[in-house]
């Protein structure tokens, strides 16, 4: 394959949240950082577990566990810094992940999952890995988290 053709092949970053292996398009991922110093302060935004300081910028840490796993992510040593492209803003966020990540070239196949944040899948040595839309995963996680924090109806 020529260099020109190689650059046309999309690539994905494969990462693990809890037990689940997932992928995101490479252009969304900025870097993988290990054991950053986390800072926390009072706030009311769901999913944000703290912030870290990266090259003079404040990077919020978002736990996507509620949407991706149905529960908060297990404690993580690695954080994937991703470019969040929301409808009204773009900014870098860090997502706690388990273990290291892998850069995988390949074409995206149609999604095999009904989950709305899965936009497709890639084949990695026979393993089918869901490709995640970051904004939809954040929205799904926020819905799960807000649902979980709603007080149960009082018993009569």
């Amino acid at each position: 394959m020529s260099v020109e053709n190689e650059s046309l092949v999309p690539s994905f970053v494969v990462f693990q949240v809890g037990h689940r292996r997932l992928a995101m398009p490479r252009d969304v991922v900025a870097e993988l950082i290990a054991s950053p110093v986390m800072f926390s302060f009072p706030h009311t935004t769901t999913l944000i577990t703290g912030v870290t300081l990266r090259r003079g910028r404040i990077v919020p840490i978002l736990d996507l566990g509620p949407g991706l796993l149905g529960a908060p992510s297990p404690e993580a040593r690695f954080f994937l810094v991703v470019e969040r492209r929301a409808s009204k803003f773009t900014e870098r966020c860090a997502i706690p992940v388990q273990g290291e990540c892998e850069l995988v070239p390949g074409n995206m196949l149609p999604a095999g999952s009904e989950t709305d944040f899965v936009t497709g899948r890639i084949d990695l040595n026979g393993e089918q890995i869901d490709v995640v839309d970051l904004e939809k995963a954040i929205a799904a996680s926020a819905r799960m988290e807000e649902g979980a924090s709603q007080p149960e109806e009082a018993l009569p």
Binding site: V37, F39, S40, F41, P42, H43, T44, T45, I48, V51, L53, R57, I58, V59, P60, L62, R84, A86, K88, F89, E91, C93
Partner: protein, 179 residues
Amino acid sequence: MTQPVHANVSPIDARPREQVAVFSIGDFRFVISAASVQEIRSTDSLGGTVVDLDRVVLRKVRHIVERESRAYYVVSGCDHFHLPLSRPSTVLILRKAPVAVLVDKIEEMAEMRVLLELPKSFIGEERVWYRGLTVLERNVLPVANPLGFLTATDLQQLEEQNPGLLHCTGGARNARGPA
């Protein structure tokens, strides 16, 4: 040979500086501009008179304190930031708002050299609570917005439900003696 005027002189740090007070509530530390604080008092030495509100419309505001012929709504810092109950021993009397904030203690006075924007992923009440974030001694701390303890809407609501109470002076109804 004439030396350049600034030879051997380290470059001047032109970043804006702001004197701040670092205060704590529970396990958290916050920063507030010293210029926005008129007075820092111990709750024991505040003096003046504490008046119960006729109608509590905000959980975080239950009293008014009168001090030197001015009255201030007393805002519980832990209720404001939705923190577990703590033991406030200090009151920050603000300059540009009729607000006295109960905090656990003043940790230190410091110089703030950087004010970073709160990331846009934060979409809750914290956007009103904080002016931004700062870095002090390698710690990221939120910078409290002095006008965020009670917004204009909060103040209007308090006044509507407790008409004229803020402007009453000493010996008012429900007075409970020195704070």
